[in-house]
Symmetry: C2
Subunit: 294 residues, 2 copies
């Protein structure tokens, strides 16, 4: 009998010592340096607001090169000084910028960019996302971005929470890049392939998502009022090395990313009774972090 008790005690100890499955946050926190890629400073757009606060957007030149070049040129020329956030529609988008048809455009800005809504899958190494998607033939990740693939080997970025796109009028307009929006609600994936996606918010989304909703149709603010004013929009590369923020994304080719996706699809924290066994691509956002101090 005594032996049985000892055995039982050993088993209990073993059970206690069995490692608990890591949560998605723990996997991200423990991912080694080799699993992270630094985002180039010319791909970070810093939006500063009157009264403080900043939103940082990572640009996606691989997907909308002309629109992104426009945005860099507009930022470089101080085009958005004094612009505003003028539309906040609940469960949809916050929109900002300016598009003064009469004002001269800064040098290098293409007035009518091509419709960069999709691009060829050629040149993209897409790691397949292993769960169903109701919008595309398949989805996956490439270069740190969620990507949807359609017939004709066309790829597009996906409208997820925090995705940044270019406001436009009806076709043939594609948006010059002066007016941008960020998604602040459930993923409006029906916009995919219909608008130029130029990036994603990597910090400070709450500067946009927590704003009072506009009272007019489509969440626009009343004529003469704005949600907040923008004091400056600059590329991180325009700042001194000391002032410049640096961000990293988790490589989709890394073991950490694979573990992260598994954990997002199968939550095993103490809180969860039933792991889902699946996840949608917008509910497993690519981890992005501030680059750790060296």
């Amino acid at each position: 009998m005594r032996r049985l008790l000892v055995l039982s005690a050993l088993l209990t100890t073993a059970a206690v010592q069995a490692p608990k499955p890591l949560t998605p946050s723990e996997i991200v926190a423990q991912a080694p340096a080799v699993d992270w890629r630094t985002i180039p400073a010319e791909d970070l757009l810093l939006i500063d607001y009157q009264g403080g606060g900043r939103t940082i957007v990572q640009l996606a030149p691989q997907f909308a090169p002309v629109h992104v070049a426009n945005i860099r040129a507009l930022a470089g020329a101080g085009y958005w000084r004094g612009a505003s956030v003028y539309r906040v529609q609940d469960n949809y988008v916050a929109q900002w910028g300016t598009n003064d048809e009469k004002a001269a455009l800064p040098t290098g800005v293409v007035k009518r960019p091509p419709a960069e809504y999709t691009r060829s899958v050629r040149g993209l190494t897409i790691r397949r996302f292993p769960h169903a998607d109701p919008y595309a033939l398949r989805v996956g990740h490439a270069g740190g971005w969620p990507v949807a693939v359609y017939a004709g080997d066309q790829a597009s970025l996906t409208h997820c929470y925090g995705t940044v796109g270019v406001g436009r009028d009806l076709a043939p307009d594609t948006g010059m890049g002066g007016e941008l929006y960020a998604v602040i609600g459930h993923a409006p994936r029906h916009l995919d392939r219909n608008i130029a996606i130029v990036g994603r918010v990597v910090e400070g989304i709450e500067q946009l998502s927590a704003l009072p909703r506009g009272t007019e149709a489509l969440g626009f603010y009343k004529e003469g009022t704005v949600a907040k004013r923008i004091t400056a929009v600059r590329l991180a590369s325009a700042l001194s090395a000391a002032e410049r923020p640096s961000f990293q994304y988790m490589a989709e080719t890394s073991p950490s990313f694979a573990a992260y996706l598994r954990a997002r699809a199968n939550r095993r924290d103490d809180f969860y009774q039933v792991p889902a066994g699946g996840v949608d691509i917008c509910n497993a956002p690519v981890p992005v972090r501030r680059a750790p101090a060296r």
Copy 2:
């Protein structure tokens, strides 16, 4: 030549007169009275805030009867007078209420309700949703609610934008109902089957979604601070007929609902270049409206 010109003019007229496909909003606006179902007054929970503003939640007794009975009893007893919204986590949830372990519970409140996270599909007439879902065997609608179906003929409501659930501690706790949350971001479907869903916000979500995000872990407000105070939580059925708001949902069995789902999956407004050909269940929320004046 003249005849050709006339024919051409006729063709042009015909093209102009061809009906444009309706947008989802137009389908909802034009749906006949017979396609709507009135929500019972005892299923509407009115949350009033200090300084004005109201959030209205439709309760789902078909899915979490004991939790919903608790919520009705708590509302009836004025349990939430002076309670607060104390957690606002970006792209996740806003949470409110109170759970004073020492306070006596109102008569009729079950301290430890069963885990009403799923229920049998028996008794539900589920109209199948025709697009892929990465979380469940299949999804559909029943009685105006989005429903996911799992192995063992178990059904659950889905965590979409605006879904209301019951905060709980670790199992075996299931939440008494004193603390509730509403989803204010991308659908956290991984919570399905892990928590009691008791309803959805049908009006006034912006009273929660536009609040400043909490600065502490998980979006909690700093000790001693709150996002806003609640002055009263009442059932619509407790109000006089004159004060009582009335809402209707679009029946999933109606032609309007079928047309609405098709339009959500295939946007053909002038703005859209490419219809998606699919949609996820949380991106096609069941239309709910104020009952029109008779």
